[in-house]
């Protein structure tokens, strides 16, 4: 992990109150360092997506600050530090072929054609869809569309990858496979990931650290390291350590939901 440098993201007292007074998120303090896989885990309405959107620069905090690599603004698309986001739905352009979808952020950043071609091919190969470039999104299954969405995010070689419940809409089998592939990608490419989920098992399987959140009002309850070694394979799900970590987090989430007013 990159010690000494400024953290990738430093959130200091960031809070969100929507007009009308709805408190979506109480002040949050959180740092993400290079190479970490941090997961925001919590029930609906705990503000985890709000927090992620603030880190993405899509939403301004109503109080507190967020710093990216020590700077107070989100780095521009063509700078050395790059953010990429994977959304809840695949959010592909239905009128464009898979290759053009993956290329989109590169085109928008003005990357040269040949470089973009190489990056697109590499990104598609990285998610196991090397041959899918000329197909249309609707011709692919939900899981494959999500892979394309991940390839699009990886094509820009992001230094911080934000993922907002990317596999929530997929069936359990597909989800487990994508979780395993994501764990391998993170390990192989030394990615830094901020991940949002409401699945305890997914959080434990993927993360180096889990930030447990509670709802009404949205707030951070605990910040728990997941000490299991990497790379993690599907066998990890069968270990006693996995079960113990899941049980501990379950107890914490259950406690959080009874402690908070309905």
């Amino acid at each position: 992990m990159s010690a000494g440098d400024a953290p990738v993201v430093a959130i200091a007292g960031a809070a969100k109150t929507y007009t009308g007074g709805m408190r979506a998120l109480e002040p949050v303090n959180l740092e993400v360092s290079g190479g970490e896989f941090v997961t925001l885990l919590g029930p609906s309405g705990c503000g985890k997506t709000t927090l992620l959107r603030m880190v993405a620069g899509l939403l301004a905090p109503s109080a507190g600050t967020i710093r990216w690599w020590g700077a107070s603004t989100v780095p521009a698309a063509e700078s050395a530090h790059r953010l990429a986001m994977v959304f809840q739905a695949p959010t592909l352009m239905p009128w464009a072929r898979v290759g053009a979808n993956v290329r989109l952020p590169l085109d928008l950043a003005g990357v040269a054609r040949a470089d973009a071609d190489r990056a697109v091919a590499a990104a598609l190969a990285g998610v196991g869809l090397a041959d899918a470039g000329s197909r249309y999104p609707r011709e692919l299954s939900g899981g494959m569309q999500m892979r394309v969405s991940i390839a699009r995010a990886l094509a820009t070689a992001p230094t911080l990858l934000l993922m907002d419940e990317p596999f929530a809409a997929l069936d359990e089998f597909t989800r487990h496979r994508l979780d395993a592939d994501l764990a391998a990608l993170w390990h192989a490419r030394a990615l830094t990931v901020l991940f949002v989920t409401h699945s305890i098992q997914e959080a434990v399987f993927l993360s180096t650290r889990v930030v447990v959140m509670a709802a009404r009002p949205g707030r951070v309850l605990a910040d728990i390291p997941i000490p299991a070694p990497h790379p993690r394979t599907p066998e990890f799900r069968g270990t006693a350590q996995f079960a113990a970590l899941c049980a501990a987090l379950s107890a914490m989430v259950a406690q959080a939901s009874t402690a908070s007013p309905p």
Partner: protein, 266 residues
């Protein structure tokens, strides 16, 4: 089992043709059986005969009417899309001007056609303007809606990628609007023809540039009902051809990706 393409051809072409043959036969038999005079209801055979005998006159008129309708449709598309793109620039522009676009929709064309014909020297131009006024609203309203109907996730992605307004317009908003635009174009194609015919009725221009509406008007006055029907058949056919043309265009643009034009196998 037939392959799906053949099955859908049967459904879409053969079935309506069978209905038409049955109805025309019934019509022919009924008119012959009850000895209905041709000046009340001509038989299909008589109408076909009139179409052939008066083909010079009728085809010239068809050319005039179709020319007006097509020109009006082209202008409605250009102007309508331009106005929608302007509306898309800001909510303020849209909120300020959209109510006036609605005026075009609710103003009866027969009420303003005489005015336009008085104001505009060239009758043909006046007729085209009338048809444009009738046809433009569905283009404006649908395209404006489409330009706004962007997947919010994709909008976020464009924002995060640092896309300019122009890039977002060309790569995201315009493609998102295409299905809406074509839905509007289908409606507008029929309305352009109706607008052209109604305006001709009001103008009542005869002579060299007489359209089909004028032929219907004259045939009615002269009790030449077979010719009236023949002109009616041509207007209907023109409308169907226009609709099919627009549908083919929509299919060309959307078949690869939009639900409205996809072939389903089920």
């Amino acid at each position: 089992m037939k392959p799906p393409a053949a099955a859908s051809m049967t459904l879409r072409v053969v079935a309506p043709v069978v209905v038409a043959v049955i109805l025309l036969t019934l019509w022919q038999v009924a008119v012959t059986w009850y000895e209905v005079p041709a000046y009340l209801v001509p038989s299909p055979a008589r109408i076909a005969q009139t179409l052939w005998l008066d083909r010079g006159l009728l085809l010239d008129s068809l050319g005039v009417t179709a020319g007006i309708a097509l020109t009006a449709l082209a202008i409605a598309v250009l102007a309508g899309v331009s106005i929608s793109l302007l509306f898309a620039q800001s909510r303020w522009i849209e909120a300020s001007f959209f109510p006036y676009a609605i005026l075009l929709q609710v103003t009866p064309i027969v009420a303003i056609a005489p005015l336009l014909i008085i104001w505009v020297q060239d009758t043909r131009v006046a007729l085209i303007l009338c048809a444009v006024v009738v046809a433009i609203f569905p283009i404006i309203s649908n395209t404006t809606l489409g330009l706004r109907s962007v997947d919010p996730g994709l909008a976020d992605l464009f924002r995060m990628s640092g896309a300019t307004r122009l890039q977002t317009m060309i790569r995201l908003r315009i493609p998102s609007a295409l299905p809406y635009f074509f839905a509007g174009l289908r409606i507008a194609s029929g309305l352009a023809l109706i607008g052209a015919v109604v305006a001709e009725f009001v103008a009542g221009t005869g002579g060299q540039g007489a359209g089909l509406a004028y032929q219907i008007l004259m045939a009615g006055i002269q009790l030449n009902v077979p010719r009236l029907f023949a002109a009616l058949v041509l207007i209907t056919l023109a409308g169907v051809v226009l609709y099919l043309g627009v549908s083919a265009l929509a299919n060309l643009a959307l078949a690869r990706w939009h639900e409205s034009e996809m072939q389903r196998e089920d």
